[in-house]
């Protein structure tokens, strides 16, 4: 395959090895990449895509809602289990506060200590508190850090943006969010605010310049859907749970003395206890990674959901699909949008090279689903009706 900007011939790589330009590869069949004559024999075969499932936009929404609920449930179970372990194996041993009887079956019921899951409650409390503070003032911080300025509808394009936001507010039956413009040439957009009444939508100058009216409508519909689906709230809950997981991990790692205590007092410990303990140790060790993966998974399912409910607002999935295509081909990272805001944007502001493919790693580590997959689903929606 040939690099589009310098002509350097190379194989399957996301960026040109000579000039660093983004190379469009592994496209879905909608945009066949022209091959130089004579190279077609050696070019990598097109990545096989799953046959499109004809899911209409309502099925899509229901699917993603279920998935979020399931994953958040899983997350809560993880926090509870980690907290239970800390209470049980660390605090329980050193201070005797938590259900000592399991290790000393002969202890009479009356002499048991008050069972209060200190660590679990503390971790959830601290996690919730920090997330809550971010939730209350998060929109102001995000808008300030991206240097967003309120839109002044003077020129034609700005009027168009203002109108499109108003249209989407009408379509969703919500109050019109405040509109901001971020002075950044890279195309991107995000929504923020704790509920529809306090919501803001910001788009970059680059996005405004690049998109047609129809595409702009798709992007704004996606952001409006984040607002309508209370995704700020969902991501706040996620942040609180992630905070709790990290705290529990820190406490366990810092205490460090539980191993000695366990072996020292090992009397009448059943096999079930040992298994439980081992599972807990493994989970504690993996907690930061696991928590991050779950949080990312929630973020991705919210993106799919926003795509689908955006299509419900415009009844035109192809508008957003076409906008996503342009976003995919934009090269520079969006510098003015910080990492923490990533899950609120329409596309990953860091532009990971993994974006274009659907693979195991890109699935696990990205805030956003792969562009090719989002486009494919939107186009399938257009035909499923």
């Amino acid at each position: 395959m040939r690099c589009p900007s310098c002509g350097f011939v190379q194989f399957d790589a996301p960026r040109c090895k000579q000039c660093g330009a983004r190379v469009p590869i592994a496209r879905p069949p909608d945009q066949p990449v022209g091959l130089a004559p004579g190279l077609s024999g050696t070019a990598p075969p097109a990545r096989p895509l799953r046959p499109p499932q004809p899911l209409n936009l309502y099925d899509q929404q229901a699917n993603n809602r279920r998935k979020t609920a399931l994953v958040i449930g899983l997350f809560i179970l993880l926090v509870l289990f980690l907290g239970y372990g800390v209470d049980r194996f660390i605090i329980g041993f050193s201070k005797g506060l938590w259900d000592v009887s399991l290790f000393e079956p002969s202890t009479p019921r009356s002499s048991r200590q008050v069972a209060f899951p200190m660590a679990t409650v503390a971790a959830l409390g601290v996690g919730t508190l920090t997330a809550w503070l971010g939730y209350r003032n998060g929109d102001k911080l995000v808008l300030a850090s991206s240097r967003a300025v309120p839109l002044s509808p003077t020129d034609l394009k700005a009027r168009q943006l203002d109108n499109v936001v108003e249209e989407m507010a009408i379509a969703s039956g919500l109050p019109k969010p405040r509109v901001y413009v971020v002075p950044d040439p890279d195309p991107n957009a995000f929504a923020t605010g704790r509920d529809p009444a306090h919501a803001s939508i910001a788009v970059t100058q680059g996005l405004l310049a690049m998109m047609s009216r129809e595409e702009l409508q798709g992007v704004v519909a996606h952001e409006m859907s984040h607002i309508r689906n209370y995704d700020t709230r969902t991501m706040t809950v996620t942040a609180a749970l992630l905070g709790a997981v990290l705290l529990l991990h820190d406490w366990s790692a810092r205490t460090g003395s539980w191993r000695a205590r366990d072996s020292g007092e090992g009397r009448a410990v059943g096999i079930g206890q040992v298994v439980l303990f081992v599972v807990w140790v493994v989970l504690v060790a993996l907690a930061p990674l696991l928590g991050q993966l779950i949080a990312m998974s929630i973020s991705r399912s919210r993106e799919y959901l926003a795509d689908a409910s955006g299509a419900e607002l415009t009844r035109n999935p192809l508008g957003l699909a076409s906008a996503l295509r342009k976003l995919r081909d934009a090269t520079a990272p969006t510098r003015s949008i910080s990492r923490g805001t990533a899950s609120l944007c329409i596309c990953d502001p860091l532009h990971h090279p993994l974006d274009d493919r659907k693979g195991f790693w890109s699935d696990l580590l990205a805030t956003h689903p792969p562009m090719a997959e989002r486009i494919r689903i939107l186009e399938a929606m257009a035909y499923a009706g």
């Binding site: 034609l156 109108n163 379509a171 039956g173 607002l313 009844r315």
Partner: protein, 185 residues
Amino acid sequence: MAFYLTLGFVVIVLGWLIVTYNGLIGLKNQVQNAWQQIDVQLKRRHDLIPNLVNAVKGAMQFERDTLEKVIGARSRAVSAKGAQEAAAAEGQLSQALSRLFALMENYPDLKSSQNVLQLQEELTSTENRIGFARQLYNDLVARYNIKQQVFPTNMMAAGMGFGPADYFRIEEAEKGSPRVDLSLN
């Protein structure tokens, strides 16, 4: 025992009635509100049209006919009484406008005028808003009607004074695309 069972049953039924009634009232108001929203946007369209006509009048002298049709359709829409008549008049206005937009493509002067482009954007947006307001209205009507028709609400809805709401239907005239005659004579 039987007394408490009866009491419990009555409380549950009353609670259900209250929740159902409030839910239906909420939806009914949303439906009415969405209907108002359509009116608001139609009003906006009526206000914008004279500005557009004035802006393009000079350049489009040869399209008097089209311009007059737009103005005529607008005044009929403004003075229309009743939902039926209003819907018909608005449908004609939509058609006249889309014809005007199509003809404006033939005038490069107009397309380079900032003022005309602004007005065109505003009218495009207004057309969209009318469309989206109707879409929301119809979605809400569907939800309102479905909620009344599902079991067990269907036993109570009519008794509590609720009835199905009407969908906003696009007039046949507006729906039909213009016929194109391709015969060569």
